[in-house]
Every structure is written in structure tokens, then in C-alpha cells.
């Protein structure tokens, strides 16, 4: 089992009336009214400190990702964060989830990922996201209907840039390069492991399954919500005659640990509410620009009554208590023992080998976040590490240079 720590780098201090006063946390929240550059500088440093602390406390990897123009999580360049993390960690995987393929020049992604692999000594996980509609269509102006094509073309170019020995030409629809000759190339051969985040769209699931990459189901609605979509991935792999190796699947889970169940509610409930009410305050049209999903997915989603994305789920959880968030598996929370039990269920239920734990939510202060990380690292992580060992699977999707020992480092 590999357990990494994920961080979104959110705005931690949105005003109480944020979701009433502003129509969206993404694309259009006005910076000048809501943020201060020096304070945000502090957020970036807290985020890096927290991830580095996670590495110290035994997490197998640290995860960063890319989003734009929002107060929900704003690392516009995950590679900048990853570069600092590569320097300040020794044996942890650097999981970049990742540089959004349709909006970054693919040759630049190939170069920067190779730099990160070099600096970290082969510890990079090369995340290749399609990107959200908010980021790619609304913030970066890519026509929705081009997004998937651009993603696939960028992927092909990056893999070729890493693996081909010759200087070659790439004559794509969106990228025409007379001379592709990427300097540097990654340490990991033939290339760093590729993880592809998704939220269940069939076209992405099939694409990942066919290529033997690691599919990472990233949502904030837990394993019950994910189950149906994740099962489709395993079914597709089975159809293709591929093994059910749990390391083929990554899964993001919100995790909150305290000394006791009661203390967890006392310490974290306000932050859970902040996260779901403020950090995820995005209207449907920003998630779903027309053409962001292809026609067959549009038909399927319309017939099914929605996309199963935040706007659809918002009404359900309106009056939820802390325990409802746990019972519905949106969050995993409680004493170390409770958290261990809940995570065991999640891991087994989904057949997940690469867990990504989100240890910081929206408004959580730095010290509380560190406490969450420490309790998890000391009292939960060691008990989950060996969960798949009896089945003898090999994690082909783990970076070769990330040789974190199985023991927890004490500080």
C-alpha cells in the first residue's frame, strides 16, 4: 500500500458570507477583494511546510496539482511547488497531479517533468490531467470541444519526447514542431510512471485502461460515490484481460484524525463545512462548458439526471451533521482507530493501492494540520502499509527512485 499526502493550497480565510456574496469560488472571485499577496505567500509556505512535514511523518509521497483563478486551491504551477519539495525530501515520491496537458506546451511539460525527475533522483510521478472545464475552458480559453483532442495529442508528444532516441518532427493538429529534441530526459526509464486523474468519464477510463496507466479517481465525495465509476474501470480492465492489481488505482480521500471521535468533530467540523460550502462553491456552468464532455457522455449524463458533480450533490448535504459526512463516506474522520477502520473499508471496497490523503481542508490552521498529519503518520499509516502485502502485487506505478523505508520516521 502506498499512501501519499495531497494538498490543494486553498485560501484559508474566506469571509463568513463568501458563498452568499460571491457567485463562484472559481474563475471569477475577485482577488482584490478577497486576498492579500503577502498573506497568500504565507499560505504557499505553510503548504510546503505541511507537505514536507507529511514526508517526515512517513507518507510515501507528496501530491500537488494545478488550478487557476480560484480560492479553492491555487497552485497555478505545480512544478514550482514540486521543485521545492524535491529538494527538501529524500525518499518520498513527488506526485505532480499534474501539469494540465491541454493548457501547457507539451514540450515544456516533458522538459519540466524530466527536470523534476532529475532533481529528485527518479522520484517523479508524472500526472497527466485533462484538466477541469473551469481551468481549461473558462480561465485558459481553450474551446471545450478541443480539450480531449489536445490532451491526447499532448500525451503522445510527451511520451515520444521522452522515449525516442532521435531528433524528430511532430506534425500534430495543435502542435507542430520541426525539431523535437528534449533536454533533459527523465532518469526513470522508459519514462516516469503516468497517473491520470479523472472523475469517472468513460472516455478517460477506457483510455487509461488501454494504456496501463494508473487511474486516479479524484473527488471530494468519498468511496460510496466513487464505487460505481471505479467498478467500471475494473470491469474495463477485466475485459481487456488485465490483472486487478490494486496499484492501478489511485483514490483521493479527505482524512481527519484526532485523539478521539468526539475531538475530531470538535476540531474539524467547522473546516469540513468551510470546505464543502466555500471551497467548493462553484456553479455548474463553470464545471461543464458546452462541449467539455463529448456527445455520448452528454447523452448518458442527461439520461442519468446529472453528472454527479458538486452542484448536483450540493442540495443533499445541506443540513448534514459531522457524522453524516462520515456515514456517507465524504470524509474519513475520528480517532486513529476509527480512521484506520474506515480507510481499510475504503481501500478494500475500491481495490485501491495508491491512496492520496487530503490532510488539509480549506480553513484548517497550520498547527491543526500538522497535528492531523502527525497523528495519521504515527498511529494510522503504519497499520495500513501492509494491507495488500499478502496478495503479492507489484506497484509498477511507483517511481523507482522513491525508496521510502517502511518505518515511520520520528521527529
Amino acid at each position: 500500500m502506498k499512501i501519499s499526502m495531497f494538498h490543494l493550497m486553498p485560501h484559508r480565510e474566506l469571509p463568513d458570507d463568501f458563498e452568499k456574496k460571491y457567485s463562484s469560488v472559481w474563475v471569477t472571485p475577485p482577488w482584490s477583494e478577497l486576498a492579500d499577496p503577502s498573506r497568500v505567500g504565507q499560505y504557499y509556505n505553510w503548504t510546503l511546510d505541511e507537505l514536507e512535514f507529511g514526508a517526515k511523518m512517513g507518507f510515501d509521497g507528496v501530491c500537488v496539482n494545478e488550478h487557476h483563478q480560484n480560492a479553492y486551491g491555487f497552485m497555478p504551477s505545480p512544478n514550482i511547488m514540486a521543485s521545492a519539495l524535491a529538494r527538501n525530501t529524500k525518499d518520498t515520491a513527488i506526485v505532480v497531479m499534474g501539469a494540465t496537458l491541454p493548457t501547457n506546451p507539451p514540450q515544456r511539460v516533458a522538459e519540466e517533468y524530466a527536470m523534476l525527475d532529475g532533481i529528485s533522483g527518479g522520484r517523479l510521478v508524472a500526472g497527466m490531467p485533462l484538466g477541469s472545464s473551469c481551468d481549461v475552458n473558462w480561465c485558459y480559453g481553450i474551446p471545450p470541444m478541443e480539450q480531449r483532442e489536445r490532451f491526447r495529442e499532448a500525451h503522445d508528444l510527451i511520451i515520444e519526447a521522452w522515449t525516442r532516441k532521435d531528433v524528430f518532427s511532430f506534425n500534430g493538429k495543435y502542435n507542430q514542431l520541426r525539431y523535437v529534441n528534449t533536454w533533459p530526459k527523465p532518469i526513470q526509464q522508459p519514462h516516469p510512471p503516468v497517473w491520470v486523474p479523472g472523475t469517472g468519464s468513460k472516455s478517460t477510463v477506457d483510455w487509461v485502461a488501454e494504456r496501463d496507466y494508473c487511474y486516479c479517481f479524484l473527488s471530494y465525495f468519498g468511496s460510496k460515490f466513487a464505487k460505481k465509476n471505479v467498478d467500471k474501470y475494473w470491469e474495463r480492465l477485466d475485459e481487456l484481460g488485465k490483472d486487478p492489481n490494486p496499484y492501478r488505482l489511485g483514490f483521493l480521500q479527505l482524512v481527519l484524525v484526532a485523539e478521539t471521535d468526539a475531538k475530531a468533530e470538535e476540531q474539524y467540523f467547522e473546516h469540513v463545512k468551510y470546505f464543502y460550502e466555500k471551497s467548493l462553491h462553484t456553479p455548474l456552468h463553470f464545471f461543464m462548458a458546452p462541449g467539455h464532455v463529448d456527445h455520448s457522455s452528454l447523452v448518458k449524463a442527461t439520461r442519468a439526471g446529472g453528472y454527479g458533480i458538486p452542484a448536483d450533490l450540493a442540495t443533499q448535504r445541506k443540513d448534514w451533521k459531522f457524522q453524516d459526512y462520515i456515514d456517507n463516506r465524504f470524509i474519513v474522520a475520528g480517532s486513529p482507530e476509527s480512521v484506520k477502520q474506515q480507510l481499510e473499508e475504503v481501500i478494500k471496497d475500491l481495490n485501491c493501492g495508491n491512496l492520496m490523503a487530503l490532510m488539509h481542508l480549506g480553513s484548517m490552521p497550520h498547527e491543526l494540520t500538522k497535528k492531523n498529519i502527525q497523528l495519521f503518520g504515527e498511529e494510522v499509516l503504519p497499520k495500513l502499509r501492509n494491507i495488500w502485502d499478502d496478495q503479492g502485487w507489484e506497484n509498477h506505478w511507483w517511481p523507482k527512485g522513491a525508496k521510502r523505508s517502511q518505518e515511520v520516521v520520528t521527529v
Binding site: 475552458n137 480559453g141 481553450i142 474551446p143 471545450p144 470541444m145 462548458a289 458546452p290 442527461t302
Partner: protein, 262 residues
């Protein structure tokens, strides 16, 4: 009125294109807006005087992926010229509404010989910082209706945005609307100005620019901008109409357009 529908193939057979046709007389091509194709009473009025051809934007009817076979505005122009060829139209009058207006202006500018007369109704295609075109891609029907209709509660608005009662038909309509927006977005995302001002001087067709005085989506100032860019244009601003003047003020717009085209 007797209406027929033809399915054509353009771009060496790659692109399926649906064309609706009615009436008799000189040819008039009507290009629909971003909301997708619909035969409406304004087209019936035209068909009383002309042969009306209403080609659907590829993807919005028939093969949904036809739109993917067209790379950019340049190939879209070639597609429409091929549609003209297959319909035997050398130089028809072309009417475009909103997104269709932009296409009509582009067709008249790219090859001026293929458009004999040009009618722009509430057309997009230009951009002003001081009065930007509204972002209909993100507006909900509740936000969009007051911008598009002088009488948001009126019969025209209600009919245009009404949904079938039957669940499957309602879903079909939702899919059709969403995909129509997706297909037009392929050519105008994220700002519906793709360089028309640099080309429009080439258009030589006499032009008639129709605008609703209360258009909240594409403000009437754009009518004047089109007039100043076109060499031979007159503007017809209609009171008590917003973004769909040909339906809200069909009583005055239909006769004016018929007169201009006759």
C-alpha cells in the same frame, strides 16, 4: 407550408449537413444562432416570397461529431460554399441571426462573389471593450431570457424556452440545446470575435442590419459598428424587441426584410 429536409455530405464526404427547405422563388439562405436550428414563423414569412434554405451548423443535427471534421472558421466557410454548390446556389441572399449573422458576414467577406445580399440580425462577430457581448455560454435561462426578449414573460420567450412534458423528449431537447452551444463554441470560444473586422471590407453585398432596440445580449451599438465597416449597409432598429427581433417584431421585421431582398 410544404417543407423538405435534405442531408448533404461536404468536405470530401466527411461532414454531414442537414438542410431544411421551403417556398419558391429566388434563393435565400438562413443561418441560425448558437441555440441551434429551428424552423420558425419568420422563415414561413420568407418562404411566401423566396426559396428558403436553412442549413444546420454541422453537429447540431444528424451526425453530432460532424463538427469535429471542420478545423476552424476557414474550413467552416469552405463547408458552406460546398453546401451552396450542392444546392445549386451561385450567389444567394444570406440572412444570419446572432452566431449565424457572424457566419453570414464571414461568408460575404471571404468570397464576396458568393453572397448577393446580406441580412444581419442581432449579429455577433465584433467586440467592444465598453459594451462586451453577453456571455450566453454561462447564463442560465433565467438570466438569459430578460436579455434576449423585450417581453421576458411573453408568448415568444415562453415558447422558445419551454420544455416538453414527456421526460425522454425533455432530455432530448436538453441534449440538443447543450450540443448546439458546444458546436457553435467550437468556432467562437471564448470571445465571439475572430478577426471579422480585418476581412469585412471585402464584402460587397448590399447589407441590411436588423437590431432589437432593447437587445441586452448584443447591444444595438454593434449595429452601427457593422454599418460603418460595411460599404453598403442600412440599419433597421426595431423598438419593443431584444435579441430575437424577427420573432418579437415579426410584424415589422418580416416585411422589411422581404422588401430589402425583393
Amino acid at each position: 407550408m410544404n417543407r423538405t429536409t435534405n442531408v448533404l455530405k461536404t468536405m470530401n464526404g466527411r461532414v454531414e449537413s442537414v438542410v431544411h427547405q421551403a417556398g419558391s422563388g429566388p434563393p435565400v439562405v438562413f443561418l441560425h444562432g448558437a441555440g441551434g436550428p429551428a424552423w420558425d414563423p419568420f422563415l414561413d414569412d420568407l418562404a411566401n416570397h423566396f426559396t428558403v434554405y436553412a442549413p444546420s451548423l454541422p453537429g447540431t443535427e444528424g451526425d453530432p461529431d460532424a463538427v469535429r471534421e471542420i478545423r476552424g472558421l476557414w474550413e467552416l466557410m469552405l463547408h458552406y460554399y460546398e453546401v451552396f454548390d450542392q444546392l445549386g446556389l451561385d450567389s444567394p441572399a444570406v440572412i444570419g441571426h446572432s452566431f449565424g449573422g457572424m457566419l453570414a458576414a464571414e461568408l460575404a467577406s471571404t468570397n464576396p462573389d458568393r453572397v448577393s445580399k446580406l441580412v444581419l440580425i442581432s449579429a455577433i462577430g465584433l467586440w467592444r471593450e465598453d459594451q462586451p457581448v453577453g456571455d450566453w455560454m454561462k447564463l442560465t435561462p433565467d438570466e438569459l431570457i430578460p436579455l434576449c426578449f423585450y417581453e421576458p414573460e411573453g408568448k415568444i420567450a415562453t415558447e422558445m424556452f419551454s420544455m416538453p412534458e414527456d421526460e425522454i423528449e425533455r432530455q432530448d431537447e436538453e441534449i440538443k440545446r447543450s450540443w448546439s452551444l458546444a458546436c457553435s463554441a467550437a468556432f467562437i470560444w471564448p470571445i465571439p470575435e475572430k478577426g471579422l473586422t480585418r476581412r469585412i471590407h471585402r464584402a460587397k453585398a448590399p447589407s441590411f442590419i436588423v437590431w432589437g432596440k432593447q437587445d441586452g445580449l448584443v447591444p444595438p451599438v454593434y449595429a452601427d459598428d457593422f454599418k460603418s465597416l460595411l460599404t453598403n449597409a442600412e440599419v433597421f432598429v426595431v423598438d419593443k424587441a431584444a435579441h430575437v427581433p424577427q420573432l418579437e417584431r415579426q410584424d415589422v421585421v418580416s416585411p422589411a426584410v422581404v422588401k430589402f431582398l425583393s
